[in-house]
Structure formats: C-alpha cells, structure tokens
Symmetry: C2
Subunit: 235 residues, 2 copies
Amino acid sequence: MSEVPAARLVIVTDSPARSPKAEQTRQAIIDAAMGLFRIRGYDKATMRAIADEAGVSIGNAYYYFSSKEHLIQAYYDGINAEHAAAAAPALENATTFADRLTGVLLAWVDVAEPYHEFAGKFFKNAAEPSSPLSPFSTESETTRLAAIDLHRRVVEGSDIKLAKALRAELPELLWLVQMGVVLFWVHDSSEGQQRTRALVQQAVPIIDRALRLTRLPGVRGLVDDVIGLIRAIKP
Amino acid sequence: MSEVPAARLVIVTDSPARSPKAEQTRQAIIDAAMGLFRIRGYDKATMRAIADEAGVSIGNAYYYFSSKEHLIQAYYDGINAEHAAAAAPALENATTFADRLTGVLLAWVDVAEPYHEFAGKFFKNAAEPSSPLSPFSTESETTRLAAIDLHRRVVEGSDIKLAKALRAELPELLWLVQMGVVLFWVHDSSEGQQRTRALVQQAVPIIDRALRLTRLPGVRGLVDDVIGLIRAIKP
DNA sequence: GTCTATAGTGGGATAGAC
DNA sequence: GTCTATCCCACTATAGAC
C-alpha cells in the first residue's frame, strides 16, 4: 500500500540547464529529500541531512534548489507528471464522462498515496497566496495548465453533451473539483485513503447527473448566470 | 478603508486561566503582534521584536503563545467575534434569504479588510491537517460551530422553503461557501477587495435561485443524493 | 559550470533559574 | 509568570578546487 513507486520521479523543471553529471546530482538530492521526508517528516528532514544522504555538501544542495520549498516544488512537478501517465489508460479506454473523470481522479490518489504523510506540509505552503507553490500563482502556471489539460481530455473524449459555453469552462471547473479532492485527501487519515476514494466514486456520478440536468429548461438560465459569473471573476 | 478598528479585539481563547495581570500581559503581546504584523508583515515581525514592543521577554511571549502561529489564532478568534457583531444588523433587518446571506458574507469582508495583507499566513493553516489552527480541526471546533451557527440564523430567519434534509445541512454548506469566499479573498489583490465583494453580490442570487430549483421534480432526486453523500463523508 | 568546505546570520523555539 | 541563555536549523557568503 505505502510503497514508493518503483520508477524514479523524472523531474521536469527548468532550473539550471543539464549536463549528465548535474542531472545525476540533482536527482540524488531529490531522491534523498523524498526518502527523508517520508521517513522523518518535512521538519526533521533538515537540509544538512538531505545533503548528507545525497552525498553532497549543503552548498551544493542550495546550488540546485534555492530553498527547501523548491525541493517540494520538484516533488509536486513529479507527481503531476506521474499523474498524467497514470491517467492515460483511463483516458484511452473509458468512453463515458463519469468513467473518465473517476479514472483521472483515482489515478491522482494512487500516485500521491506514498507521500500522504508529509503532503500536509507541502499543501500548507501551497495554500499561501504569496508562495510560488500556490496552485494559483503565475509561477506554477505551466503545471496548472498541464493539469487542466488533462481534464480537457476528460471532457473531449467523452460522450457528454453540454451547452458550448459550459463545455468550454468545464476543464477548469473539473480542476477545481480536483483541488477539492486534494483538500479532502490531505485531511483523510483512513487506511489507504479509502474515504477519499469513496468520495470520488460517489461524487462523480452526482456531478455527471448535475451536468446533464443543465440542459433542463428551468435550469438553463441559471447555468448561463454561473458561466457569466465565472468569466467575470477570472482575472 | 484600511483603518484598524478603534475597539481592541477582546480575545476569547482558553489558554492559561486568567489573572488580571496575566490578561494584561497577554493583551499587550497581542497588541504588539498585530501592530507589527500590519507594519512589517508577518515574516519581519519577529518574536523578538514583538516581545520587545510588548515590553516582555521572548520566553514570556512563548509562555502565552506556544508558537508564532498561535498568535495568529488569537487573531482569528477575534475576527470571528467581530464578524458575529458586524453581521447582527443584517440578521435583524433583512428578511429574504439572499439579503441575509449577502449581509453576513459582506460583513466578514468588512471585518477582515484591515488584515488582508498578512491574512494569507493564517489561511495556509487551513491546508495543514495536523495544525490545531486548521478550520477543520477539533481544536477549532468551538470557533467553527459559532461560525456555522451564524449561517443557521441566516437560514432560519429567512423566507426560503426547502426540503427538510437540505435545510438541515444548509448552514454547514453555507459555511463552506464562506470558506470559498475566504479563499478567493485571500488571493484578491484589488483595491478594498472589491472583486470579492462583487463575487459575493453576484454569487448569492445564483445560490438563491439554485436552492429554489431544488424543489423541481427532475432535480429533487439529485439533491437527495448530494445530501446522502454529505452525510456519508462527514466523520 | 560543478562542487566542497566552512564560517556566519538571524529567527523560532526551549530549559531552567528565579 | 518572568527572565536569560542557549539550541537548532534554514539560509547566506565566500573562497577556492576541478
């Protein structure tokens, strides 16, 4: 259940341009950090210990990651890349909207599971608006757009029929749903995060039904207003 | 616009039992902290500076507040008390559901405004499950229940007609809406948080309409499922 | 460009005397 | 309840090796 994924996280940030050797060092630091985060927790995994474990000097660790938080950012990027990979089967095989969305959301829970224990520390920093780690920040725009794109594929490959305007906003709305799942997941201390999985499995059919109801005559006007509001508040 | 409220915040936590002298010291620390937070920002308002400003030693400051974050919690409690007071006129005078909800939500924005700049610091606690400051934690249950109670009064004093089960869950749902508003507000850098105010004013009528639609035949079954889900995931 | 070693700063938090 | 002294750690600075 709580195994580290066999494959290494392959990180895709754009910090210092890579030589093979540099890449190796960089990866060693990330591996050491992730290992220590899991064993000791975020606070007790000191930069000294991480550098030590990776077999480099503190100075060198800071050469690659300008703060302890940036180390987390690397981890965050890794989860996103893994998520895209883990979601691929669902996006290839499932045809109904509900199955596709469930597949993508559960894939995230699977991918994130090994890091659940210290994830709180990470999301804590992410929740602060001034932090570059915030999912709403410009710094994490690339990551965010990639995640939204995943949900664009959920919608586009599905059978669902919706008003054009709603369909256009839906990927972003589903990304917000995913953020909600993450918030729930962070607080979920059940074995293997079973409660989060149950939430996804029960919530998705409801979302699916709600979306189909938007074509109902009495509801359509309301949906237009919601769309209008969304567009008004987007920066 | 950004004035500190003239009246001192009277804090209602339950940390060390009060002697008059203790109360005085405690309040001096809070006053110093709030002043420095606003002038220098959270990070630069060091515990040393706060203790200094309050005329006590660092050790003494930690005697009253076991961490810098707990200093913020005291603050948070103060905002909630102020919010209840500021919401009272709306709860006494407004009769429609929409007006009552708008009044309560805008009262929060008014009360919180002077501290918008460093508010992000305490908001990030929401995301960290292990923190006693999390709005979902058992430690902040009293505060949370008081806030939910405010929304219970929004519902009870209003003209809205809803299915019994939905009506029972509504105060908690409205509290979640308020958390959403807080999330938006924290990221809102517009002058006087005008965008948040606009959001509230546009979103409330939509919520109002959506709630009234729940009595529609095609929608009723969906609402029952949502209620079922909510009850299933509540711990 | 990659890396080491080391010395130093500042601030959150604590121990223990009074 | 209050203080002083101290610890620990993130982070910086620097000087230089390969």
